[in-house]
């Protein structure tokens, strides 16, 4: 069985500067995989390369064995890969309901339909309601997304990401800036919503990483220095030196 996501010799240069230097990474189907590393290591850039936001300078990205590098983001999304953003990235003037519904439309086959009444699509309605219930924002259904609290916006961000039913989910620091209690709720939400799907997550909170991930990859200066189970990563001296050690100090 081919990996859900595979990066082969991926490089990204901006002019002379290489931000990503030869990444090889494989995320198995159904696995929860965390990508960790110090600030500026290239974690968000890696997400941008996988999701089509940027094209790699060299190397290739494969989704379930199919090459996707160079495809625009919407093509990659239609093939079943969906990502969230580190900085909340929602449709600010539209209600929570409208936000989630927009995220459901393509995958329910509506495409650019201009001959169908949006309120007359039972499947879209059903799936939107399901996601709304899943992210516990039912009470905020009609509030414009821009007026939600920070934690609510983060929940909506995750909701939009999973609403399309993609089976490969990329979450970029979903708990950044959250209180301890909010983080716990967010982790429970992520665990529930990514059940049976492949998850690649960038996260700074080590308790989240070690609690959630089946496998962890460590990115330092644009290179993966280690990949393994949480125990292997915890015991890896290179990782301790480059990353965990710094945290402790």
């Amino acid at each position: 069985m081919s990996a859900a996501i595979e990066l082969r010799g991926v490089e990204k240069r901006f002019g002379e500067i290489a931000i990503i230097r030869n990444i090889n990474l494989s995320v198995a189907q159904g696995e929860r995989h965390a990508l960790i590393g110090p600030n500026g290591a290239g974690k968000s850039t890696t997400f941008n390369l996988i999701s089509g936001y940027m094209a790699p300078s060299s190397g290739s990205v494969l989704l379930r064995g199919q090459p996707i590098s160079g495809l625009p983001p919407y093509q990659i999304n239609r093939r079943g890969l969906s990502r969230s953003f580190q900085v909340t990235n929602v449709f600010a003037n539209m209600s929570v309901w409208e936000n989630l519904r927009c995220a459901v439309l393509w995958s329910s086959g509506q495409r650019y339909a201009f001959w169908k009444n949006i309120d007359n699509l039972p499947e879209v309605r059903e799936r939107t309601a399901q996601i709304l219930a899943d992210i516990n924002l039912t009470a905020r259904r009609d509030v414009p997304a821009g007026l939600l609290t920070y934690a609510e916006q983060r929940a909506l961000e995750i909701g939009i990401t999973v609403a399309g039913g993609a089976d490969v989910i990329l979450l970029d620091e979903p708990t950044a800036g959250m209180s301890h209690a909010e983080t716990e709720r967010a982790v429970a939400l992520i665990r529930r919503l990514t059940e049976g799907r492949t998850l690649l997550i960038v996260e700074h909170d080590m308790s989240v990483v070690f609690g959630l991930a089946d496998r962890i990859s460590v990115l330092v200066y644009g290179q993966i220095i280690a990949s393994g189970t949480p125990e292997e990563i915890r015991g890896n001296p290179k990782v301790r030196e480059a990353y965990l050690g710094e945290e402790a100090a």
Partner: protein
């Protein structure tokens, strides 16, 4: 429907709501039918026809600006080309005695707008924002200048004219009298308004809103923002073409002014002044601006200056437009606290009107000395005669303008306090303000 959707999804409109909704359209149709019975003069029928055309044009513009977040400086291109093709179509139909009645000609205009939007829009809709605005301006200049060069098609300065009465007659209507043109415009206005409203309630319509809010994120829910913008642009061109064709039928002529920057600017004015955030905004704007441009030009020679001042005032003080201002008061109406605002509004109105009067006096006096310095100094503006050379008038203008400004500023602060009070009452009653 499953449990979850029926509990969590927004309630589907009940039978009573649907009845109310359809009742609204029926009422609109009835009002359009009855309007000529109340205002019977030829002048008012022409005004109503122009308003109808302007409503279609402004709503088509708002598909771009309000719904998809694209600021176009060249929307008159599709209006104008629709108008020219309509005139040519009428001439061809008449010459060849084709069995096509006049009421179908606006459709030809619409298809022309659609065709040119489809041809010219693909590149310009790749980007929104500044790039789109600049390309729209460039395309508009290109088409407007070719209108003066390609004389066989556009007729040069004089334009192309046609006789609308020689087509296949429907129910014995020749479409010579203005009342018949009024009904033609009214019918097309109703059809176009319903169609454009329906468009906002489709998957494409909602994705237009999503592209307006956040084109980047749209790509990550499976949609290509370029395609969404392009389709919106095509629809917008289609309805603009219908409006242009109706204008051409109304005047029996199409000339380069149809395509020009003034026409593109006017539709932007009307849409923005009405309010881009609401579907009815452009309708309100079209009515207001048509009346204003017809009325102001009788009252003062520098009516365009006032037009500009009103536009600036709306942009600065009421970015939601007239509709936005009215909608702000809805929560107060629901909470029953609207009447508490009235005293402070009335107090603020007095110095504001004084300031505006002072401004008008200053403008008209300045116009007398700069534009017509040789003329008699006894001038008439807004129906009021005064002596522009009199120092008393100058003093009065200065006192009204400066005094009015300072008092108005004070009173509008009070309005602000009163507003905070009544909105917090509305909020306490659980009505979002």
């Amino acid at each position: 429907m499953s449990e979850i959707a029926s509990h969590i999804a927004p309630p589907l409109p009940a039978a009573a709501d649907k009845l109310k909704f359809y009742g609204l359209w029926v009422a609109a149709a009835a009002a359009l039918l009855l309007l000529p019975q109340i205002f019977t003069s030829g002048g008012s029928l022409t005004t109503f026809s122009l308003i109808g055309i302007s409503i279609i044009f402004s709503l088509s513009y708002n598909i771009l600006l309000g719904q998809t977040g694209m600021l176009s400086f060249g929307h008159a291109v599709y209006y104008g080309l629709g108008g020219f093709l309509a005139i040519h179509a009428i001439n061809i139909i008449t010459a060849n005695k084709l069995p096509i009645p006049l009421p179908l000609v606006p459709l030809i205009g619409g298809l022309t707008g659609l065709l040119f939007a489809a041809l010219l829009g693909w590149v310009s809709t790749k980007r929104s924002g500044t790039a789109f605005a600049m390309i729209s301006l460039g395309v508009a200049e290109l088409i407007a200048s070719s209108a003066l060069i390609l004389r066989t098609f556009f007729g040069g300065e004089a334009g192309i004219s046609a006789n609308r009465t020689k087509l296949l007659k429907l129910f014995g209507w020749s479409f010579g009298p203005q009342i018949q043109i009024y009904y033609l415009v009214a019918a097309w206005t109703l059809i176009a308004v319903i169609a454009m409203y329906a468009l906002t309630r489709t998957p494409l319509g909602r994705m237009c809103n999503a592209v307006r809010d956040n084109p980047e994120r749209v790509q990550f829910v499976g949609y290509n923002p370029h395609t969404v913008r392009y389709l919106a642009f095509c629809f917008s061109g289609f309805f603009a073409g219908i409006a242009g064709a109706l204008a051409a039928i109304n005047f029996e002529i199409a000339n380069s002014a149809y395509l020009g920057a003034v026409q593109s600017g006017t539709v932007l004015f009307a849409t923005y002044i009405g309010g881009v955030g609401f579907f009815i905004g452009p309708i309100v704007g079209a009515i207001f601006v048509t009346f204003l441009s017809l009325g102001l030009s009788d009252l003062t020679p520098v009516w365009q200056l006032y037009f500009g001042l009103i536009f600036i005032a709306v942009v600065v003080f009421a970015p939601g437009g007239i509709t936005g201002l009215l909608m702000m008061h809805r929560p107060l109406l629901k909470a029953g606290t609207l009447t508490q605002m009235l005293p402070s509004y009335l107090i603020a109105l007095v110095p504001t009107l004084a300031m505006i009067a002072g401004l008008i006096l200053s403008i008209e006096t300045t116009v007398h000395y700069t534009v017509n310095p040789g003329d008699d100094s006894h001038i008439k503006a807004f129906g009021v005669s005064f002596d522009a050379a009199s120092p008393y008038i100058w003093a009065m203008a200065a006192i009204l303008l400066i005094g009015g400004f300072f008092v108005a500023r004070k009173t509008w602060t009070w309005v602000g306090h009163a507003w905070d009070g009544v909105t917090s009452v509305a909020r306490e009653k659980g009505i979002a303000a």
